[in-house]
Symmetry: C2
Subunit: 241 residues, 2 copies
């Protein structure tokens, strides 16, 4: 319901393929070039979101899936108390909105953590296309399956571990996802606050800060504000286990 005016401006793109990474990132299997361009034609691009803008809010009608072009989106829900619970961070090349397909209503809030551009894949049209493209249906299932698996990994990460392990695994996970997109080594920028990290990992904000400090003291990482450099990747990996 409450979507800001600027978000409503939609721009249709013909040669979306190049601009929008839907092809390889969202639906990565054996479709022909021609098939892929059919999918690309569905894509609706949106005005870039500024930091703090909502892509959607809890209760909004489900219009389609979103693929992040650049930037980062945080999704979070509210518990009965009104406590905020971060459910995920979505970086460039990743999809969100899969959780809304069933009820056709978004069950959580999605907010931009920095300047972010997304493209929208209207789900009804995607399903129509499924009929003429047998492979597309399978692709969609794979994307959803991967999302289920991803959430299971989060559960595994949170279960039975110390604060240090959580932080370490979080860093490694983020680094891996960053590296998949852009060719950058062991140095990158956090798009989320300590607050968000602590909420996501089920720790106190202060604990997150302290753990970062400890890792820095051990010369395993270097953190300046939100910019991190992994100095000893092996040591970090070892701590994760």
């Amino acid at each position: 319901m409450a979507t800001t005016g600027s978000n409503l401006k939609l721009i249709h793109v013909k040669t979306a393929c190049e601009a929008c990474r839907v092809r390889e990132l969202c639906l990565p299997t054996s479709l022909t070039e021609a098939d892929i361009s059919l999918v690309d034609e569905l894509v609706v691009r949106r005005e870039p979101l500024e930091k703090g803008d909502y892509l959607y809010r809890t209760g909004d009608d489900f219009r389609g899936l979103y693929a992040v072009q650049y930037g980062a989106i945080k999704t979070y829900g509210l518990t009965l108390q009104g406590r905020e619970q971060v459910t995920g961070f979505h970086l460039a090349g990743e999809v969100l909105g899969l959780d809304a397909i069933d009820q056709e209503v978004h069950p959580c809030n999605a907010i931009a953590l920095e300047k972010t551009e997304v493209c929208q894949l209207p789900f009804d049209k995607l399903e129509q296309l499924t009929q003429s493209l047998p492979g597309l249906s399978h692709n969609l299932s794979r994307v959803m399956s991967r999302e289920i698996l991803r959430e299971q990994h989060v559960l595994m990460m949170l279960g039975g571990t110390t604060a240090e392990q959580r932080i370490v695994r979080f860093i490694l996970n983020l680094q891996k996802r960053m590296a998949q997109r852009e060719i950058m080594g062991h140095s990158f920028r956090f798009c989320m606050s300590r607050q968000d990290i602590s909420n996501y990992l089920g720790l106190a904000l202060e604990t997150v800060s302290r753990q970062f400090t400890h890792l820095q003291e051990k010369q395993i990482i270097d953190i300046q504000n939100r910019h991190i450099t992994i100095l000893q990747p092996e040591a970090l990996q070892k701590l994760a286990d």
Copy 2:
């Protein structure tokens, strides 16, 4: 005494449908009777599993999805350390195996917690059928979407809560799922051990035991071994928030 529509439907239907609840439980939308029987024809039934039998193990080839007929299945993964992490409990009427679609390999172990019968839905055949049944594809997406949502709720349940809240929410969740299938009020049997519960909730086994005792002392529940009766549903609900 809310007998759901789906329960009534079940009674009307004979043959494969009746035995296997795939129709309304797994794929609950607008397919015609004829369509549904096409789906039912795919179903492969398996010999009942005894307690402790594995339905599949990590690394096994993905052959299809499974719908639990009766009984209960626990899924768990192993961390790098070899530590066991329970990722879910699957009761009668629920589906598992969705996490294997992407890699075509099961990423976790599935073991029966008691005598259990499942039916198998060969996924390749299901996808073939998708071509002739437009609605089926949508149904599948909905089932997967619901699974994604379910896992998000687990995250929300675990985040920022006390041991008591986790236990209470776990009880309520289980009760809800039990009640959906069988018409039973506030009394049911746990199919999993304290060990499994503690692992799933990220608590120590002893903590789980103590929390049960506390709730019993407060006369909110009554626990005899693995049989629980919720004496004060409102009080329990209140604790969950």
